[in-house]
């Protein structure tokens, strides 16, 4: 069993997918934020399998793990505390930028002023773009999960191709968890209530790809411009008509454009970038 769980495909695909699917099916009758708790339980298990339970020394990657977990908790709980949609949106933007500064603080300290300005301008633009695009689709579960799943898959595959299996595995684990919860929604429909449709629900889908994508640029060899088409995934998904009859068809239509972009970017990086294997 230990050997089986040590395999990357188990840690980053099978386990998070199965845990998230099961958790969604169990929790959907209990809470409207079942998909967030499903993602949280799946990511906790995957992160423990990939990284272990240690957080010392507190590297950038471990900070990302803690922040993704915190973002899932916050998204599941904050709507009770902060009812204003405007405040939720501002909170999402600010907290994601603060998270980026915390993760990359040591690297920022060694940058010259021009690089620092470029880094800050780039990350602020990325967070604003993701937040704005995800809030546009947060109302529609098929589009929200289709965009989140595709974006995380794209970031995971691109990070792996850009020479960091660790960052890639974390993004892929979250993508698999998202896919599991998404399938749960396709099979059974919405969890009770409307709380999941508040803007803060998009927080994990903004924070996780932003942190993991920027980390793959800074810590590995992902070209910064690869983040542009990846960040456009929620835009492409948002263009898909929402009126399809069946949940399966809505899920399929909402996933295809994002998957096409994600796979295209990953293939480009694989062909041109520094691949982490094959030598």
């Amino acid at each position: 069993m230990e050997q089986l769980l040590a395999r990357p495909e188990m840690q980053s695909a099978v386990v998070p997918f199965a845990v998230a699917l099961l958790a969604y099916l169990v929790l959907r009758k209990v809470t409207a934020t079942a998909w967030l708790w499903a993602l949280l339980s799946a990511f906790l298990i995957s992160a423990a399998l990939i990284n272990g339970l240690t957080i010392s020394p507190l590297t950038g990657t471990r900070k990302i793990i803690l922040l993704v977990i915190a973002s899932l908790f916050t998204a599941a709980l904050l709507h009770w505390v902060l009812s204003s949609h405007n405040l939720q949106r501002r909170f999402t933007t600010i907290i994601c930028q603060v998270a980026i500064l915390w993760v990359f603080w040591t690297v920022l300290g060694r940058m010259n002023s021009a690089s620092m300005v470029l880094f800050l301008a780039g990350t602020i633009s990325l967070v604003l773009m993701l937040e704005w695009l995800f809030v546009r689709v947060v109302d529609e579960p098929a589009q929200l999960h289709g965009a989140g799943f595709s974006l995380l898959l794209g970031v995971g595959l691109a990070a792996t191709a850009a020479a960091s299996a660790l960052l890639g595995q974390l993004a892929l684990a979250l993508a698999a968890a998202s896919g599991g919860a998404f399938l749960g929604w396709v099979l059974t429909g919405d969890a009770q209530g409307k709380q999941t449709r508040q803007p803060v629900a998009a927080l994990p889908y903004v924070m996780a790809p932003a942190l993991l994508g920027v980390a793959a640029v800074i810590f590995a060899r992902l070209p910064w411009y690869a983040l542009i088409p990846l960040a456009a995934i929620p835009l492409a998904v948002g263009l898909v008509p929402k009126k399809a009859e069946s949940r399966f068809l809505r899920a399929l239509l909402a996933s295809l454009p994002g998957l096409a972009i994600a796979l295209g970017v990953a293939f480009y990086i694989w062909q041109t970038g520094s691949s982490g294997s094959g030598y």
């Binding site: 299996a165 810590f219 030598y279």
Partner: protein, 187 residues
């Protein structure tokens, strides 16, 4: 009062344990290399191209101290893609931890020559004691520039998983054999 002022003035001076003559590591004649088992098939070798350091050395008093800093981004295995991967968070996380350091804590002697050097190797922010065996050591004037020079060859090994470098283990070996050759020039 005067004594107190002298003590206070001395306390403000930078303190340094005087061990012996000061030497500076010559990067042009220093090689930090490693070997690791690759999936049970063969031994893969690599080296670091940038390093610096200092040595305090007094063989008469049998005292020595060495500090070597290695630039983790200078890793070179003769394969650019592999080097990029080795610098990533999977292995050295070189952007976040650009420096690997070895600072000696004790030295054993065989006659008037050092036999082993034990020190703290700091890698990825984790410090662990490592003992290096000195296989060759010579001091004397460099015949070209006449400067007093000491040269050392040393070997040792570390378990990379002790430093949190777990990627690919145990297929890619856990034990890393180190070989360090360096020359240091008297200041």
């Amino acid at each position: 009062m005067k004594k107190l002022m002298i003590v206070a003035a001395l306390a403000t001076l930078p303190m340094k344990a005087v061990i012996g003559a000061d030497y500076t590591v010559d990067p042009g004649h220093t090689y930090v290399s490693f070997a690791i088992n690759h999936l049970g098939f063969s031994t893969m070798r690599g080296k670091f191209n940038e390093q610096s350091g200092s040595l305090q050395f007094d063989p008469a008093a049998k005292k020595a101290a060495v500090m070597i800093e290695i630039d983790a981004t200078s890793i070179d295995t003769g394969h650019a893609k592999r080097d990029a991967h080795l610098q990533s968070p999977d292995f050295l996380n070189a952007v976040e931890n650009p420096t690997i350091t070895f600072t000696s804590t004790s030295v054993t002697w065989n006659g008037n020559k050092p036999a082993t050097v034990t020190g703290d190797l700091t890698l990825l922010g984790v410090s662990k004691p490592v003992t290096l065996t000195i296989t060759s050591m010579n001091c004397g004037p460099n015949p070209f520039n006449k400067k007093e020079t000491c040269g050392f060859d040393a070997t040792g090994s570390i378990k990379r998983t002790d430093y949190g470098v777990t990627y690919g283990a145990p297929g890619i070996g856990e034990v890393l054999d180190l070989q360090i050759e360096f020359e240091a020039v008297k200041n």
